[in-house]
């Protein structure tokens, strides 16, 4: 795989953990936003509420979205997040 | 679902009285249906093709039931009832076979109807069928 290419299926499979190892949940959806002509990942929808969102049962509120810039590392089996997103932690 | 329930289950254990009773019940259902068919022919209100094919199917069921009952080992003490049931099943097979062979014959149908009535004694369904009903009764009492 060329460097820098990540498949959505892979993101959906990884566990999300904060820096200090506390689990934050799984990635249920990926929110993208148009930025000068291309679509950038704005954030990841995680946690149990995320599943409801994906099923179209609940709308994902802005605070459910874990900002992509808070993602520190994409390891083979987990995503490390700089600090647990306050709202995600509450889920 | 006269189709031999026993065949669905793995192997057939000895027929207990309840199963023997159900076998007799299905024979009386076949007899009743045979009478409906025969009525149609007697009054010339049906199609011979349907009569022939359907009578053949019912005859096949009766033969299958007879064979199943004959092959099965039966609970002790129920042998006489089982043999009688097999005999009735064979008479049922013969009567329905007649209808299959002569699906248009009003006279044949009348004979078949009489034979089935004798087997079933269908005066009214709740009535006492001399053969099957009595047999079913003895099977239950014996249980």
């Amino acid at each position: 795989m060329s460097a820098g290419v990540i498949k959505l299926s892979r993101l959906l499979e990884l566990r999300v953990e904060a820096e200090d190892g506390t689990p934050v949940g799984r990635v249920h959806d990926v929110r993208v936003r148009r930025v000068d002509g291309r679509y950038e990942v704005e954030g990841l929808i995680v946690g149990p509420r995320g599943l409801l969102v994906r099923l179209g049962w609940r709308r994902a509120r802005q605070r459910d979205v874990l900002a992509w810039k808070d993602v520190m590392a994409v390891d083979p089996d987990r995503l490390v997040v700089r600090r647990a997103n306050s709202s995600a932690r509450r889920m | 679902m006269v189709a031999c329930g026993c065949a669905l289950l793995a192997g057939c254990g000895p027929l207990d009285r309840a199963e023997l009773g159900r076998g007799v019940e299905s024979l009386s259902a076949l007899a009743a249906e045979g009478q409906l068919l025969a009525d149609g022919v007697v009054q010339d209100r049906t199609r011979s093709t349907h009569t022939r094919v359907h009578a053949g199917t019912l005859a096949g069921d009766a033969a299958h039931e007879a064979q199943k009952l004959a092959d099965a080992t039966v609970e002790a003490g129920a042998d006489r009832e089982r043999d009688e049931a097999v005999a009735v099943a064979q008479r049922l097979d013969d009567a329905l076979g007649e209808l299959e062979t002569f699906p248009g014959g009003e006279r044949t149908a009348a004979n078949v109807h009489r034979a089935l009535t004798k087997i079933q004694a269908l005066g009214d369904h709740r009535g006492h069928a001399d053969d099957l009903e009595r047999l079913a009764g003895r099977i239950k009492d014996g249980a």
């Binding site: 290419v5 990540i6 299926s9 892979r10 959806d29 929110r31 993208v32 291309r38 950038e40 | -």
Partner: protein, 117 residues
């Protein structure tokens, strides 16, 4: 195309339709390019049974590869550059014809010769 949308909710598994309106597969995966600490950009779509294995639970992956084939670009799975996508609405509309994008799996036409076929 919406200003902001969620990939799984609106794009993943959606129907691909070419410029002639022909259905030509589904979005079986989405290719993102970038890394942690940098922008992660949608750069392409993957379609074809070769992409199934990666989406199924890990413990079924070996079976899935056996059933649906490994991800062999150009045969069991095809990449559609994101620039080829004109709209993500009821379906994912493409700018060109399925054949030009190598998406017309219906390319063999045994039934053409049958009258009325």
């Amino acid at each position: 195309m919406d200003e902001r949308f969620d990939l799984v909710y609106r794009l993943l598994d959606d129907q691909l339709v070419d410029v002639d309106g022909r259905r030509c597969g589904r979005v079986d995966d989405v290719e993102l390019t970038g890394a942690a600490g940098e922008p992660l950009v949608v750069t392409g779509l993957l379609t074809g049974r070769g992409a199934y294995a990666a989406r199924l639970p890990a413990r079924w992956r070996r079976l899935a590869r056996a059933l649906f084939g490994r991800d062999v670009r150009g045969s069991t799975a095809r990449r559609v550059p994101w620039t080829e996508v004109s709209d993500v609405g009821v379906t994912v509309a493409l700018r060109r014809r399925a054949a030009d994008l190598g998406l017309d799996g219906d390319d063999w036409r045994p039934l053409d010769r049958v009258p009325g076929g």
